[in-house]
């Protein structure tokens, strides 16, 4: 009804077609977003908690829980099936890591090749802090060492500069 009205108002075949096509596309979008209703809310809850920490490899910054990509659907189905087979969360994660690698985990595991990842920032922070302390200490010593009284000449020069400045300000 709506579509017919729009078509009559616009009166152009092209626009009418466009509206039709767009409305079809919109419906397809709806069709894709329909999520299968959970049969077992407890298991679905467990699935979501686990999938929150797993990466969808297709849309890489999304979790398997959030993603609506086909890949994520398949993975959730796989995890669901394994949960039905009474596998523990660790077993399921191990299963996925064996096939897709550590990249599927949002929390990189702690092992020799990830030491740089875990310790790198702290090493940089400590290094930077140490360098800063070292520099400040050295500067303080240098300032102390240079802390010698002015010679008569320098004092007169400084005084005349101050006087000149005051004069400038009074004008």
């Amino acid at each position: 009804m709506m579509k017919q009205l729009i078509c009559m108002k616009v009166g152009s075949l092209k626009r009418c077609l466009m509206v039709l096509i767009l409305s079809l596309v919109a419906f397809q979008g709806y069709a894709n977003e329909a999520v299968p209703v959970a049969e077992d809310p407890e298991l679905e809850n467990r699935l979501n908690n686990l999938a929150e920490n797993l990466r969808c490899l297709v849309c890489q910054n999304e979790t398997l829980a959030a993603s609506r990509a086909d890949f994520a659907n398949d993975m959730r189905r796989e995890i669901r099936e394994q949960m039905h087979m009474n596998k523990s969360d660790e077993e399921i994660v191990d299963f996925l890591v064996a096939r897709y690698g550590d990249f599927i985990l949002f929390n990189p595991p702690f092992k020799s090749i990830t030491w740089l990842l875990w310790f790198g920032p702290f090493t940089l922070l400590l290094g930077g802090g140490a360098a800063l302390i070292f520099y400040l200490r050295r500067r303080r010593i240098q300032i102390k060492e240079k802390d010698v009284p002015l010679t008569e000449n320098q004092r007169l020069q400084a005084e005349s500069l101050i006087k000149e400045m005051n004069k400038d300000q009074s004008i």
């Binding site: 490899l57 890489q60 796989e78 096939r99 897709y100 690698g101 550590d102």
Partner: protein, 174 residues
């Protein structure tokens, strides 16, 4: 002098790391299956569902497993390369028809040519998960002992064949 050299050295190291990070392709996730036994499968063949192929059938030869689907656009790009490769007769290519419809898959092969010794049907993508498939097309090189030696993610190109895949196959065959 040291005052400038040390921060400069740290800076250069950082730049090198960031440079490496920026030039890596995030889509190329290294597979943990390299140098591991190829996951076992036992699947129906595409053209004759009464026949099956299992991963054991290919023990003793170097072969390629190409994951493809008729709905996969990038597969169309790589397909001519595979067709040409199959004509050379260097290495048998087996197709894993991934989450596809039988009739559209066969229609697709009729249209673009069939480089495969045979294609096997992975309708629900289960075998795909075992192989760590996340983006079609993907291609595996498997050796005589049934060990995965190489995984190519994305369309196989003439360059990747020349630089990586064919030299590796030559080495594995000898």
């Amino acid at each position: 002098m040291m005052r400038f050299l040390l921060p400069l050295a740290v800076f250069i190291i950082l730049v090198v790391f960031l440079g490496i990070g920026l030039t890596l392709n995030p889509r190329q996730v290294p597979s943990p299956l390299i140098d591991k036994p190829a996951p076992v499968f036992h699947l129906q063949q595409l053209y004759d569902s009464s026949k099956t192929l299992s991963s054991k059938d290919n023990l003793g030869k170097v072969w390629m497993l190409n994951v493809w689907a008729s709905w996969c656009v990038a597969c169309r790009d790589e397909h001519p390369v595979l067709v040409e490769l199959s004509k050379l007769g260097i290495v048998p290519i087996y197709g894993l028809n991934y989450k596809d419809q039988r009739d559209t898959a066969m229609q697709w092969l009729r249209q673009y040519g069939n480089p495969y010794e045979t294609s096997i049907v992975d309708a629900d993508g289960k075998v795909g998960i075992n192989y760590g498939v996340y983006g079609v097309p993907e291609t595996y090189v498997i050796d005589k002992q049934g060990i995965i030696r190489y995984k190519h993610i994305g369309p196989v190109t003439v360059e990747s064949l020349k630089e990586k895949i064919l030299p590796l196959i030559k080495e594995l065959k000898s």
